[in-house]
Subunit: 223 residues, 4 copies
């Protein structure tokens, strides 16, 4: 029977046996690692735990990833896929006020990133940037830059259409991004220890941000 051995990471046919296929090991490991890295941080996560959660032995993990650091890199790379292409297209097709566009941007980001496991990645990157300069650059190029550019494009559109005041777009993009970033950093770090003292409702938070972005705090804005 011509049962050829499939090259790793490639499924011979679409209807492959679901569970415990050799080719799925890396994926299971990456998923387990993401969970644990996000939950406990890089240093506090033990490789054995990752292996256990993926249902394999510690030795097996090192069969697929030569070191814990390489595992980390693989996790980050795996989880910051190029969704920006799709998003850019979405925004190009967008019709409506730029304020609506900004609103759409904020809430969509929350729905697809902020509220998911992936929201732990920025915190991880921020913490481990020093230890993984290569990854930091990668993250900067593949995530931060495209993200900033996307926001900049929205701001430019707003200015071009006379909806927004002229501004420095780089700083502008930072100012849009900052509260979003702080929201997920809070969620995954300091916020964990506030108990009920500071309860952040993402919807209200983003709504407040949008309002501030558009009108600022000053009274004259209401005119």
């Amino acid at each position: 029977m011509p049962q050829t051995i499939a090259p790793r990471h490639t499924l011979p046919d679409g209807k492959a046996r679901r569970s415990r296929r050799k080719d799925e090991r890396p994926g299971e490991l990456l998923a387990a690692a993401l969970d644990l890295f996000v939950e406990k941080g890089f240093a506090a996560t033990r490789v054995e735990e990752v292996a256990q959660r993926a249902g394999v032995s510690k030795g097996t993990l090192f069969l697929y990833f030569p070191s814990k650091q390489e595992l980390f890199k693989a996790v980050v790379r795996e989880n910051i896929s190029g969704r920006f292409v799709e998003w850019n297209e979405e925004f190009e097709r967008f019709e409506g006020s730029t304020q609506d566009m900004l609103r759409y941007c904020l809430f969509n980001w929350w729905e697809r990133i902020g509220s998911t496991q992936a929201s732990g990645i920025p915190k991880l990157m921020m913490s481990e940037a020093q230890n993984f300069p290569e990854l930091a650059i990668f993250y900067q190029n593949e995530v931060m830059q495209p993200g900033m550019t996307l926001i900049e494009r929205i701001l430019r559109r707003g200015v071009a259409r006379g909806e927004f005041r002229p501004m420095d777009f780089t700083y502008g993009a930072f100012l849009v991004l900052a509260p979003m970033l702080v929201l997920v950093l809070w969620k995954h770090s300091l916020g964990t220890f506030c108990g009920d003292q500071v309860e952040l409702d993402p919807q209200k938070y983003l709504t407040a941000q949008l309002d501030m972005l558009m009108h600022g705090f000053g009274v004259q804005a209401r005119l």
Copy 2:
């Protein structure tokens, strides 16, 4: 009667040898600790290293600080939380528009914290919070809470005087804090690896933030 014998632990003349004075030890240790904690993180910094950099032995460090965590707390108190009393007073005496107050707040923060070594502390806490809950709670109570409260007071003043629109002060304070936080996180983390790609001029950045905080991006704000 001529008290010829100098009192113990007192140097014969007031202009004693500058360096290695006993009462400077804690200060030297705090400075060394701040440097190393910011540079390498809390966990990765070895107490012996701190002691060495301060020019004393490991044992001496524990003479002044009962534990590594207490050393960290002392560093934070020395550089941040200990100053809130002074800052609160400053703001109580402040006369002028609340916009000026906000400007004063931002630029003063930059001068006294943001532009100094102490700006590494927020990044540090973000990274280590999970692994050192006690420190996280301390930071939350001694730094975040007072900081947020200080900002909230400014916002309340603005609303009370009719300068600012009504708002939720908690979210408002977050929105003021976020760009400042991101500025120093950036400076101590991802920003390190961007080279010249993204050059943030703090003065311009904070000016842009202030403008946005007051007027927002929307054109109607100009009316």
Copy 3:
């Protein structure tokens, strides 16, 4: 079908190389630990030393025993407390006078404990009890209690059968135990330095004890 491949972790032939077999590790460690604990005391014994003497690394020790204290408990269980079940059964089956039972108890204890390395454990516990309350409680529960109970049962049997006079069994058990305890304490402590001054022949000592236990020193006992 001929299963040619030896099951993992099993040596090709039954008579595998004698030493360094995986399943002997705990035993080797326990033996090394007993030696060192008795020789140097619990606190003064370094785990690395135990590991070295057992021919393994420090890490390996912690593979089998989660902590130094648990190692100690295992040593005690292996050498003393684990045997009470067997001893209790022996005594339940015992037929004969209670005096013979007491004799059997004393000389058997000497043969199986008193004359072995394990006799150092009581001295060890006496010395370290204050500093390791957890171990003290463990020893109290696992060794002293069962031991006292065993002796009490013998005494109760003697009284029940009319062989012994009525007595307070708690104090009675103490009085039986005391000379045995002192014998091994002596052996492992002060006795070490007496040279030939006081030569204790255990057989004669225990014989004398038994005689005293039965008849006392008083002459009327001979009637």
Copy 4:
């Protein structure tokens, strides 16, 4: 004024100033050390604590005793004075049955030693004998030997007067001593952790011991 400096440890006159005299330092230190050694054991007692309790600084302690070990030796030597001369005389003058003599011995020992701070010394010696061979020999010669001899003399008297059966006096003395020793070891070591499980009333305990010593457990003893 001829105020000659008194040699250390010697008081110029009987009516010396009571408190904080230089010459009393060693005594205060020895007392403090005894308390703490008995309470916490040798290793667990910190010299600073001893110094504090004696009201001097750590440095001063080392002025009088070159090391912690020497301090220990001094403590033991100080506290096992030659009371045996007095006791021997007492026993020579004793008139009455030898059983009464034994009773007197036991309860007197309890009153003068067993119930006092000094009862901690045997436990200390037992624990530290290995570390202080010199002291162990000293203790053996100055305490154990005289004590055993004293008991032996009682036993010999009993036999000589026809009150006691013939016996090996060395073992006999051990058998008398053992329960007394165990009583104080229990008091200062393992017994500490039994809570209410085993409550030893010294009076009852010694009474039971005396009864056993005289008559044994066997029924024939009653005849």
